[in-house]
Subunit: 351 residues, 2 copies
């Protein structure tokens, strides 16, 4: 358990992955040459944990970051908190979201906070500028500083607060590792991943809650099981995400566009530093990937290619999705100068 040494000595860090094994998944082309490359690891895993196909060091751990939100949202429904506040499918989708803080998100989030009767600073996440450039400009024009509700994770935080209040727990400190809110989330993640998370590195996420590392195969397995779990809570979350693709991301976001195109045939979720995961319920599969260098532009192209490889994206849809699946790059004068696409040495017929 090499992690124990690291955890005992906070001055030491260690690599979670033998990154020397990881292949180039994505090329960044500036015509006529490849200018940059993105290596990574990816795997396709069944509900029983069988690794169907893998590229790179997939047994090594990753921080799942925001990929794990759909599973972190389970206690919100399973505790009865969601029904107690009459949570709508929109709110359930926002509990799983990395949202862009557009008006469509903020309207729901503001009313949710009012329902809870808590002040804004009950949220443990900090403020940040909306991911959506138009929403960010709207704030500037209105002379309004971003609030904690503008944090892309604010829906998750409202769900966690809702659960704590419903169960009579002290809401203060709900973001800390030992609070029951985090403990319940970890337990559900551990169960669906069928992985003991006890000795894994624990980082602090951008929104201030713990992010517990897990093997990439475990993340994929958790998604495989989340996609096929017969429980009422998982079904309601899957349905809410599929019904409200704009709420899980935003107008111009990758997960939103994929979900709009594929509906309930996938559950897809991005995370910071280029983790990305998806469930394909009809196949009983989960996929997860991590780009070594943390570039989201590559994670998007890679997970789209994997969905195409698994024929979850048909050829007509694939053609329509090219602007996000293999985006051309335009310079400031509007000229197409390059493209981001899967490496021909990886998935030669799928990317």
């Amino acid at each position: 358990m090499p992690w124990m040494a690291v955890l005992r000595n906070p001055d030491k860090t260690a690599h979670m992955s033998n990154i020397l094994e990881n292949p180039v998944l994505v090329d960044v082309i500036r015509h006529p040459a490849v200018e940059s490359v993105h290596r990574g690891r990816a795997c396709i895993v069944t509900v029983t944990g069988e690794v169907i196909e893998a590229w790179g060091d997939v047994e090594a751990a990753v921080y799942p970051r925001s990929c794990i939100k759909p599973i972190q949202a389970l206690p919100f429904l399973e505790s009865g908190a969601a029904d107690a506040i009459g949570a709508s499918p929109e709110q359930i989708a926002l509990a799983c979201a990395s949202h862009s803080a557009e008006a469509v998100h903020l309207n729901e989030l503001v009313s949710w906070l009012e329902i809870l009767g808590l002040p804004m600073d009950a949220l443990a996440c900090g403020p940040h500028v909306p991911n959506d450039p138009a929403a960010a400009a709207d704030l500037v024009r209105a002379g309004i500083k971003p609030t904690r509700l503008h944090n892309n994770c604010s829906g998750k935080h409202l769900a966690m607060l809702s659960t704590a209040l419903h169960l009579g727990e002290e809401p203060g400190g709900y973001e800390t590792f030992d609070h029951p809110v985090q403990k319940r989330a970890r337990e559900r993640i551990s169960e669906l991943a069928d992985t003991d998370l006890t000795n894994q590195p624990v980082g602090t996420d951008g929104c201030n809650i713990p992010t517990v590392a897990m093997p990439l195969t475990s993340l994929a397995r958790a998604f495989a099981r989340f996609g096929t779990d017969p429980g009422d809570a998982t079904a309601r979350i899957r349905a809410a995400m599929a019904a409200h693709p704009v709420l899980i991301g935003g107008t111009e976001r990758f997960d939103t566009k994929i979900t709009k195109a594929l509906g309930n045939t996938v559950v897809i979720k991005t995370g910071a530093e280029a983790v990305h995961a998806a469930a394909i319920p009809s196949l009983g599969l989960g996929i997860a990937l991590k780009i070594d260098d943390g570039a989201g532009r590559a994670a998007e192209v890679a997970i789209a290619a994997l969905l195409h490889y698994l024929k979850v994206i048909d050829e007509t849809t694939w053609a329509a999705l090219q602007p996000v699946a293999a985006p051309s790059m335009y310079n400031t004068a509007g000229k197409a100068v390059g493209q981001i696409k899967t490496s021909p040495n990886w998935l030669p017929n799928a990317g």
Copy 2:
């Protein structure tokens, strides 16, 4: 010459580098673990082209992108164009800049365009939002759309237009490969790099001018020679960049902070997709690096580490530069959750 095949077939792309050889230069730590890594190649080269030290596949080519601006600016001075319009050191610094479009930049750029008596659309670069967030917000508040002068390369474009006008050349099309403006720039780059650029891949840069690939060692050599060249034009450019560090980048920019700290002991210039180069005149050395995945966050940390390794940055200055040389990462709640720093396997005592 493997490039010839690529250039003959525009549907084909090829890797410029055998990236499998390139080591991890920079780690991105989310405590307590390394979450992401950045590989790359770097070299330290003398004025005669001797490679003093190298990491990774440094003979392979890179698009130099904006790194090359100080050298591209030479014909502006050498043609007499700069003196003909009475160019100030501020304008010379802007000719070499990737500026953040703050007021301090725009004021100079607007008056320069007026001196030329050309309309805004004489600039071949397109508009983009200022790199500086405060400058971008100011534009939104004022209800002004970014113009071509806000493009981070607009100073270079004004210098190129100034040169064409001074020499009686048609300014229209100055951004095209065969225009005398681009030809002169290529010749000076080729001379200082002592490298034949004829058969190298030619990409189109973000600002719409050609970017001609060259071996990374050639880029480093060009900087070594630029830093020590006894000519009047090189001396004036070096002095202008050192005297106006804010003008070559911007208030919050890496190159600006390094130049403020080191003055005329270095000439440092960033380029898109994580190329970075520097000259150290006192040592007669040039350094150049390219992060494989194009991440600027890693290029900055890596080139700072190389300057420290070469003792161009002393220990007191190194301590003061830590916020840019090995930046801590804070989450939205203001908590220090990680750090970007050189890999302990690369430059163990310098990064």
